[in-house]
């Protein structure tokens, strides 16, 4: 059986992706240290609180209590690194053309639903895909927009007077804080799904995010996910 080593992830994408990991982790961790000082959010239905962010045991377990000053120190230092790394990533996507792989296209929503059905074995045939399937397109584009949203709501909370127009855009100071919090929860949910999906996708896929190349069986149905050669010029 023949195999190919197909280039999958450019060097810049890999470095920016992995550098982002410690930065966003530190932003979430320091965000928790800050949030503890005023932990007001929860999931409520008809005034009944289903879940409170967060239970006391959670703070005790992680040793989060009374560390507001430390949280603000970390948050307002690493915010620059997180934002700059994210900005470089977006610029790289645009300049390199990699945006083509993650921008949702007409029909993405429908195909993404099929991807989910295929993942849980309800649908037998995998929907068509490019480098990424449409669920990935939507997820990866969303997470970039979430990053931008976190930066902007963060700035709105940080400078609510000098940039009051931005704070007003998010519905005022309290709503900006609420959004900032829920975007973080969404990041954590994204992360959990991402980890599960990477684990399910297997070693070759994970390895390609480190090495940049993916080893592909030439005898497989498709030479690389999504890229068939049916319409190759002859």
């Amino acid at each position: 059986m023949q195999k190919r080593l197909d280039k999958k992830h450019p060097l810049a994408i890999r470095w920016l992706h992995w550098i982002n990991f410690p930065f966003i982790s530190l932003m979430i961790w320091s965000g928790l240290l800050i949030y503890w000082a005023n932990p007001v959010y929860g999931i409520r239905i008809f005034g009944y609180e289903l879940f409170k962010f967060f239970p006391q045991s959670f703070y005790d377990l992680l040793g989060i209590r009374f560390r507001l000053a430390e949280g603000m120190q970390i948050h307002f230092f690493f915010m620059w690194l997180f934002a700059v790394n994210g900005l470089v990533y977006v610029v790289y996507l645009i300049v390199s053309g990699e945006w083509r792989a993650i921008l949702p296209v007409p029909g993405s929503l429908k195909r993404a639903l099929n991807v989910a059905l295929y993942d849980v074995r309800i649908v037998k045939k995998a929907p068509p895909r490019g480098k990424y399937n449409d669920a990935q397109r939507i997820a990866y584009m969303s997470v970039i927009l979430m990053g931008a949203g976190s930066v902007l709501t963060g700035i709105a909370i940080y400078k609510p007077l000098q940039l009051s127009w931005l704070t007003a855009l998010f519905g005022g100071y309290e709503w900006a804080r609420w959004l900032h919090f829920w975007l973080t929860i969404c990041f954590v949910l994204f992360f959990l799904v991402h980890i599960v999906q990477v684990a399910l996708a297997g070693w070759r896929n994970f390895n390609s995010m480190i090495t940049g190349v993916e080893i592909v069986d030439v005898s497989s149905k498709s030479p690389r996910p999504g890229v068939t050669t049916e319409e190759a010029p002859s």
Binding site: K3, A69, P128, I215, T229, A232
Partner: protein
Amino acid sequence: MSENKEALVEKVREFEERTGHTVDSYPGDPNNTASILGERRRLSEPLNEADAERQMFVRSRRSFLTAGAAAVAGILGWSWLSSETKAHLYRRAFEFNERVSRIFFRPEHLAKEFPPESISAIRTNGMEGLEAEVDLAAWRLAVGGLAGRTDDLLLTLDDIKKLPRIEMITEMKCIEGWSIIAHWAGARFSDFVAAYPPQAPPFLSGQNVNDRQELPPYVSIATPDEKYFVGWDTPSIMHPQTLLAYEMNGEPLKPENGAPLRVASPTKYGIKLIKRIGRIEFTNERPRDFWAEYGYDWYSGH
């Protein structure tokens, strides 16, 4: 996999080599969303299995070593920094953020004012410097650093009330993350400065005459017992919404809210809105600040 498809892979590669440009997409292929936006393909030379696995192993080893070295360097480097170095780094970051903030600071940027029905319940926080009883009759405001005198000027509350009375309904934000909306009445700090002008900072030789500052760059404010003290930068304290307040929600200040005189301002977090002012000093040195000494941002400006 049919022989047919394998041959097609070869054909694509040959085509690319022959014409010198890559096949970017497959227009019209319904099974391939890569065609929609024209994603670039990166097909490589097919290799026999042993060669492919060996090359992949070499690549993996190199990449994992690089990644591992970067991760270890990052973690070790960070834990190698002493807590003093980190504290210093974080303080420098706060100071850098302050410089950036001050570039964008405009006194004409005003905080939103709210209608009376928005006023929220009072939330009292921070009793540092308020432990002793306050004798309102004996209270005087000491002011240091005024033009033409070296000793403190002592003012009564009536002296402050003689200044134009300003009312505002603004949002007070605690550094803990909550906020309330309150109705304040008092004198603008800028009106206070106009009535009691401070000593201008010394004119340094070699300084451009246009850079001459009329006001000292900082103001230090402390409670009568000096147990609570804050430092303000002059632009923030001269902001038109920074008040020396004597009324809150239509009543004279209560002791726990800062009677008889406190700072009210939407320009900074509540930690800077000192209650029960005992002394104000105009100064050229960056003043000490109670919470900054516990690692909080000295500027804490909005």
